[in-house]
Structures are given as structure tokens and as C-alpha cells.
């Protein structure tokens, strides 16, 4: 069965420093992977997606993620954090069923300090 593990429940960075949110996946075949972001009191928004095309995926707001099959990882990065990046981030894998079942990680809360 497909699953994702988000290695950190909380990550704290200072504004202007790099962001790294870690995600490892488990899948018996080549997976499709997403990162979603949830700002306080808002619904989830798709940040970026990997669907077996380029392994380096660029998303909105300067985020990107690299699919590494050898490491079964899909870490989310951003070169320079902004205060508005403070949110909860979810790594998601798509299950290979007859419909679109998303399997969510437990989330990483990103805290950005001035």
C-alpha cells in the first residue's frame, strides 16, 4: 500500500533562511506525489505535483520539490522563507485504485520568525 511519512511535525526557520520539509514515500510502483499547503483557517491549496515527468518540480510561491527514487523522498524546499509561508504542509501520495484516493501525511507545521 502507498503511504507517506513526514519526518518533522514542526519546523522553525527565520525569515530569509532556507526551508526544508521532509517527506518519504512508500509505493510498490512509481507514485504520483503532491504537496498541499493549509494556511490558518483556510482550505488546502495545491503547492506542486509530481506525476512522473521532470523529477524537479516547481510550485507556487517559490517552492520546489525533487523526486528521488533511490531515496524514496520528495522533500519540499524554498531558498528564502517569508513570513507568509507560515502554514501547515501536507505531503500526499495517490493510491493506485480505481479512483483518485489521496493518502495524506500527518503534516508539518512551518513556523517563520522575523
Amino acid at each position: 500500500a502507498q503511504s507517506v511519512t513526514q519526518l518533522d511535525s514542526h519546523v522553525s526557520v527565520s525569515e530569509g533562511t532556507p526551508v526544508l520539509l521532509r517527506c518519504n514515500y512508500s509505493s510498490s510502483y512509481s507514485p504520483s506525489l503532491f504537496w498541499y499547503v493549509q494556511h490558518p483557517n483556510k482550505g488546502l491549496q495545491l503547492l506542486l505535483k509530481y506525476t512522473s515527468a521532470a523529477t524537479l518540480v516547481k510550485g507556487i510561491n517559490g517552492f520546489e520539490a525533487e523526486f528521488k527514487k533511490s531515496e524514496t523522498s520528495f522533500h519540499l524546499t524554498k531558498p528564502s522563507a517569508h513570513m507568509s509561508d507560515a502554514a501547515e504542509y501536507f505531503c500526499v501520495v495517490i493510491m493506485n485504485t480505481g479512483f483518485q484516493k489521496l493518502v495524506f501525511g500527518t503534516g508539518t507545521r512551518l513556523l517563520v520568525s522575523p
Partner: protein, 113 residues
Amino acid sequence: DVKVTQSSRYLVKRTGEKVFLECVQDMDHENMFWYRQDPGLGLRLIYFSYDVKMKEKGDIPEGYSVSREKKERFSLILESASTNQTSMYLCASSILAGTYEQYFGPGTRLTVT
């Protein structure tokens, strides 16, 4: 832009009450989903629907039912609310096939006392 709306942002109900959570999407999507979100657990799928009057159980359907009488509307029903159903409920929709992106509503925070 896709818009998914949920009838209430906050809801407080008493144990044993019947609770209806409504979700409406305006993009003619075939698929609609109900999740609950709890701290440290991420999102868990309760039910989904791929067509009018069609429904499938997700991972945690116990204590819930759903209704989809019209394509744009998907309702989650708690037949007899219990305190362990206190949670954030998120509705989502997507097209039938393709990139699998789901569009989410803002959520309903339900408290059962």
C-alpha cells in the same frame, strides 16, 4: 477559479443530535470527498462520491453517512453526534480523471458537547 463552499465555518452541537454538513462546488466536478482533519493524523477520508447518488466508503465511515442528490452538492450526515466526532471537516472535489488534483473548501470546525 474552482470554488468549493461549506455551509458553516463553525458549528456546535450536542451529543445525540443529527448533524448535516453541506458542501457545494461550482465547477461541474464528478468527484466529491469528505475528510476529517485531526492534529497529528493528517486528513482521513470518510466518504466519496463519483456521481450523483453514488457513494463509496473511505477509511473511517463509521458514524457517518452521505447524500448526493445533485452533482454540485455533497452532504455529510452525522446520524447521532458523539464527542469523538469533534473535528475539522473538509470537503473536496475533482474531475473524474486526469491529474487528480482535489480542490478543497475552507472547512467546518464541528464541536460536539
